[in-house]
């Protein structure tokens, strides 16, 4: 067993590569695969080196090759194999491809400190959903407003964001990337309502450069909806997707209990 340490390590490495490449669906992007494989490589080598006996066993076949004790065929294979592998790597990196270039896209772009809404300057930091604030203690009224929001959603947003608010509307597949899935825990439930209001009001063109505004087909909804209508729609997307907006006040309260 011990004298096969190096081979076990190589097999393990190949198994991890195969598992990550073919075992994950949808396939993970190359950049992530690269991170995972780098970490796996480091982990395997460190593990081999963490015990003196194990490390010597790990090195033994390599020593045999580089000190000329291994069979000629094996030496030839390794010494020819290394430059060939390096060459293959270089070719993979430089060969022309038809793929679109990488789009470094941040998922949660930072909102500006202020933005224009119907000519009014809105301060993002202090922005709160006025409807939620006004009717916090009146669930019936809030429910009515949410229902109105649902109508607005179906008249405007539904086509892309879908019936189940899962980003799978009729037009969804025409876009790349596809519209946001509100049921995903990583989307609206991570954000305050003010963020959502900014995204809806200013749409794709309102995104900062880091968030590749040219990659969003979201219209500038303030040109089509009133402030109230947008807030109502926001009430609905939270209620409809079963999530709650992120608020810091509640957390502080939560902790104090």
């Amino acid at each position: 067993m011990r004298r096969h340490t190096l081979y076990i390590a190589i097999m393990l490495w190949l198994a991890i590569l195969a598992g990550l490449k073919f075992g994950v669906r949808p396939p993970m992007p190359a950049s992530v695969l690269m991170i995972y494989m780098t970490l796996s490589t480091i982990a395997i080598i460190l593990f081999a080196a963490a015990d003196e006996a194990r490390f010597q066993a790990f090195l033994a076949p390599l020593r045999a090759v580089f000190e000329g004790r291994a069979p000629k065929a094996v030496q030839l294979l390794v010494l020819a194999g290394i430059p060939l592998l390096a060459g293959w790597g270089a070719w993979l990196r430089t060969a022309p491809s038809w793929d679109a270039p990488f789009e470094p896209r941040v998922v949660h772009p930072e909102p500006p400190s202020t933005f224009n809404f119907h000519g009014k300057r809105i301060d993002t930091a202090s922005l709160k959903n006025p409807l939620r604030a006004a009717h916090e203690k009146d669930p019936a009224q809030l429910e009515k407003l949410t229902a109105e929001g649902k109508t607005i959603y179906y008249q405007n947003c539904f086509f892309c964001h879908g019936d189940a608010l899962a980003g799978d509307g009729h037009f969804a597949n025409a876009f790349s990337p596809i519209p946001a899935n509100f049921r995903d825990v990583g989307t609206i439930s991570m954000l305050q309502e003010s963020f959502v209001f900014w995204r809806v009001s200013t749409g794709g063109p309102g995104l900062p450069r880091a968030a590749t505004p040219w990659l969003s087909a979201m219209p500038v909804w303030q040109n089509f909806l009133t402030e109230d209508e947008i807030w109502k729609a926001i009430l609905y997307i939270y209620a409809g997707s079963g999530s709650t907006p992120r608020t810091w006040d509640e957390e502080t309260k939560h902790e104090k209990h």
Partner: protein, 906 residues
């Protein structure tokens, strides 16, 4: 510098020697402060007055960055080391083992010179701030003056106590040891206070509090206790210990690799182990402290929080994840290798496989980016910009789970290491081990369970889970140790630890820990400071220099690497001097105490000739890899928002927004008018202006009336208001027609009406570039002084003309009158017209500019960079206090010298 570290035992221990050594420290710091003051004042008055300056064309931001970071690293070292030096000393006292006392002294020895270097770097930083950022520094130091004075007092206290601690080591032995321990504790109390004070300024710039809209201080305590102050204090305190431990371990590693004897190797092997133990011990709670800080940042400003974790800076967190994961791997690697020198530890080798798997999976989850880099094809395959499955790893819940499990694993490694050569003999040993295993399993279960459950609950509940996870891990560790101590009491020892018999690569692991800690500090410091983006003081004082942009991540990581390399070069100078003194001492006294070691048994270690160059290459390789990863993430520069330019096609909404900005800032309209319920009523309410405009003057439409009332305010006066408004086309407002029209657009939206005003080409042509205007003159326009006072033929006549005010009044008087208009009244003018708070609402820097401008009109020079001329009273006063203090210490020294002589004579 070298003299400072002269070993205390070189001379016979005496109070005089201790006092002399301490005074050297005081003298050094006094001279340094004096030099700083002179250089800063000299350069400030020599260089032209400006908001920003640069030295020899070198980018001022990078200069301040490099020096500040180096200063911080040395400060972290000198604040961190005493914490564990005194703990080690205490352990030495309780266990009565001399090697602990020697180790504590070895740690402290590194301090003396590091103090000097910290102070030198701090002084350079201060000079750079005063010279390169005069306006900001003036504003900050004016506001925080009490804390500056406190800081200086603390520095002197710290120097005295720390040097006394070092120089009195031999003096205070035996029955007097408790006094030495007390000194050690005091060093830490002062050091911590020093850190807390320095953090005030840093955190205020991130999360300003205690100031009003105009930037005036309303509550010093609120400004000090701003939202991020405490989290940073705690975070830095822990990080200092971890950092100090890792640097001490790296020192031991270098000494180990260069050791000539088995004894030396054994000693430094042990020191490296203790150093790494401290580093990792302090490192374990760090993620939690960091998490608290992150929360406070989010709570203070969602925008800042999002740009830190989700926006442009998110990419740097991949690097952070890599570094932290690397630290976990390296520390486990070191422990496992160390078990090779513990007889009996081979029993635990079998645990390495599951531990490595756990660490790797944890690392993988920890390093999974939230924003994934993907090509178009990959993105459509994933169905969005995040992966449906891997996306789950990108969020905080997964990261918390991963890091908690990694902490638990590392803790377990430590415990196995501890048990390495021991077999418990207590009767309940088997039971105890089962309980320990159950406790670890339960904690892992809680961490995993809450980790998974948190995907099913809203974020405000989810965030509370991290507390349960941390709680589970911390209590599991506490219970484990509580069982372990009695469990191993009187345990059978299989064999003694063979100190010194560890492969060289384990020392490289220690060195890697130190490099990574240093680099991590550089990176996280950059992120913390960088998320302020184009603000000096977030949301309040904007960076208006050419360096206000956020640089590309690749550039930033290269600078972090350069800082790291410089730091290690400087540190190696300190270490080299420390070891040189060691050799001198040895020659003088012969070898000191010996460390238990095995003679030349089957040692893995094969000494080579030089082991310093490979270490340096290792340093360069490590930082290069980090910077290389910094180049792989997306690169973009982010610029401050552009100043808006009015064109004929500017949409009405934007025009109104520009107008609003003009009314607030450049026009200074709100000094007399109001646009909200609260406001000034010297002029008519602007909310009604547009609505009433059509009916004000018969035969004139609303737009024409508004235009006339702004550009020729004296033609028609609204009944009940005096003739006092200057034309907007003239100073102080000095606007062009396009700007006036955008104000009309704003007034129309303010009245709730449609924007009808149109910009035509001629309006824009009228905008002419004006030459450089004195900042004071500009400030007088902005703050509306010119509305009432006439200067150089322009301005109102409500108050006295100020063109020649410098001829009759001193600069101090002018300043006093600005701050307190009721101080006196010029003859022939009515008292109480000038608003009492007007002057106070002008930021301090601009107030000085105004005085400088007014005095300059009469040919009198007044330096606007704070009130300090080279010989200002304050600096001299402080210098005098320090001088008297020095004289006092000299007197004490003289008395001690006499006593010493008498003692010797006797």
């Amino acid at each position: 510098m070298a003299t400072a570290s002269a070993t205390p035992s070189a001379a016979a221990p005496s109070a005089f020697a201790a006092l002399k050594g301490t005074y050297k420290g005081v003298l050094k710091i006094s001279l340094m402060l004096a030099a700083t003051y002179l250089v800063a004042q000299g350069l400030s008055s020599y260089l032209p007055a400006a908001d920003y300056r640069s030295l020899f064309g070198f980018p001022n931001r990078i200069a301040v960055w490099v020096i500040a970071e180096l200063h911080l690293m040395f400060a972290a070292f000198v604040l961190g080391v005493p914490i564990f030096a005194v703990i080690t000393e205490f352990v030495g006292v309780t266990t009565k083992e001399k090697r602990y006392d020697d180790l504590a002294r070895e740690f402290t020895k590194l301090l003396a010179m590091a103090y000097t270097l910290t102070a030198v770097l701090g002084c350079i930083l201060l000079v750079l701030l005063i010279v390169l950022y005069p306006k900001l520094t003036g504003y900050m130091s004016g506001m925080f003056k009490p804390t500056w004075l406190l800081y200086i007092v603390l520095i002197f206290g710290e120097v005295i106590i720390a040097y006394l601690y070092w120089y009195s080591w031999d003096l205070l032995q035996g029955s007097r040891k408790k006094w030495h321990l007390l000194l050690g504790v005091l060093v830490n109390v002062w050091g911590t206070a020093l850190l807390f004070v320095a953090d005030i300024w840093v955190t205020f710039m991130m999360s300003p509090a205690g100031i009003d809209d105009a930037g005036n201080l309303t509550s010093l305590w609120a400004a000090i206790n701003n939202p991020t102050w405490m989290p940073i204090n705690i975070h830095r305190l822990l990080a200092n210990v971890a950092f100090g431990g890792s640097i001490a371990a790296a020192y031991a590693a270098v000494r180990f690799l260069n050791a000539k004897t088995d004894e030396e190797r054994a000693r430094f092997d042990w020191m490296g182990y203790i150093g790494s133990f401290i580093a990792i011990g302090a490192f374990i709670p760090l993620p939690f402290a960091g998490y608290w800080l992150g929360r406070e940042i989010y709570q203070f400003s969602q925008q800042m929080g999002v740009s830190m974790m989700g926006g442009s800076f998110a990419w740097l967190w991949i690097l952070q994840a890599m570094l932290i994961g690397g630290l976990f791997l390296a520390s486990n690697f070191y422990l496992w290798l160390g078990m090779g020198r513990i007889p009996g530890a081979e029993r635990y080798v079998k645990f390495q496989v599951p531990m490595m798997i756990l660490l790797t999976i944890g690392f993988i989850v920890w390093a999974t980016p939230r924003s994934i880099m993907a090509s178009g094809a990959e993105m459509s395959a994933m169905g969005g910009s995040h992966h449906p499955f891997l996306g789950l790893f990108g969020v905080m819940a997964a990261k918390n789970t991963a890091v908690n499990l990694m902490i638990l694993t590392t803790f377990f490694s430590f415990m196995l290491y501890r048990r390495g050569n021991r077999i418990p003999t207590v009767s309940w040993a088997a039971m105890g081990k089962i309980v320990q295993a159950l406790v670890i399993a339960a904690a892992a279960g809680v961490v995993l369970g809450y980790g998974i459950y948190s995907y099913y609950v809203p974020s405000n509940i989810r965030i509370g889970f991290s507390i349960y996870q941390v709680g589970a891990v911390l209590s599991a560790m506490a219970i484990f140790v509580a069982i372990d101590i009695p469990l191993l009491r009187g345990a059978k020892e299989i064999g003694a630890i063979r100190w010194g018999q560890i492969p060289a690569r384990a020392q490289y692991a220690l060195f890697f820990l130190a490099i990574s800690f240093t680099w991590l500090m550089g990176l996280m410091g950059y992120i913390r400071s960088g998320i302020r983006q184009y603000w000096h003081i977030y949301g309040r004082v904007m960076d208006e220099s050419a360096n206000a942009y956020t640089m590309m991540h690749g550039h930033a990581t290269i600078i972090v690497s350069i800082i790291t390399v410089i730091f290690f070069l400087l540190v190696s100078v300190v270490f080299w001097m420390a070891s040189r003194n060691d050799e001198k001492k040895k020659k003088k006294k012969g070898p000191g105490s010996t460390f238990p070691h095995a003679e030349n048994s089957e040692c893995h270690f094969r000494p080579r000739k030089t082991r310093t160059w490979p270490l340096f290459l290792f340093l360069l390789a490590t930082v290069s890899i980090y910077s290389y990863v910094g180049q792989l993430v997306p690169q973009f520069e982010e610029y401050p928002p552009e100043k808006k330019v009015i064109t004929v096609s500017t949409p009405p909404a934007e025009l109104a927004a520009i107008g609003e900005e003009l009314v607030r800032v450049k026009g200074g309209c709100l000094i007399c008018h109001k646009v909200t319920e609260t406001g000034n009523v010297r002029g008519p309410d602007l909310r009604k202006a547009a609505g009433q405009a059509a009916t004000r003057k018969p035969g004139m439409d609303a737009e024409a009336y508004l235009l006339e009332s702004i550009t020729q305010p004296d033609v028609f006066l609204v009944p009940g208001y005096p003739k006092m408004m200057p034309s907007a086309l003239k100073p102080p407002a000095n606007m062009n027609l396009a700007e006036v029209k955008s104000i009309i657009a704003y007034l129309q939206t303010l009245g709730g009406a449609e924007v009808t005003v149109k910009i035509v080409a001629e309006d824009i042509k009228a905008a002419k570039a004006s030459g450089p205007v004195h900042k004071g003159k500009e400030a007088m326009g902005i703050y509306g002084c010119v509305g009432c006072h006439k200067i150089e033929g322009e301005g109102g006549e409500v108050g006295p003309e100020l063109t020649k005010v410098g001829a009759g009044r001193t600069a101090e008087e002018v300043m006093k009158k600005i701050l307190d208009p009721a101080a006196w009244t010029t003859p022939n003018f009515q008292a109480g017209i000038m608003p009492a708070n007007l002057g106070k609402s002008i930021p301090e820097g601009e107030r000085h500019e105004i005085v400088a401008y007014l005095m300059g009109l009469s040919g009198i020079h007044y330096s606007p960079t704070g009130a300090e001329s080279p010989w200002s009273h304050e600096g001299v006063r402080l210098g005098l206090v320090i001088l008297i203090f020095n004289l006092g210490m000299l007197a004490a020294l003289a008395i001690a010298a006499r006593r010493e002589k008498q003692r010797k004579a006797a």
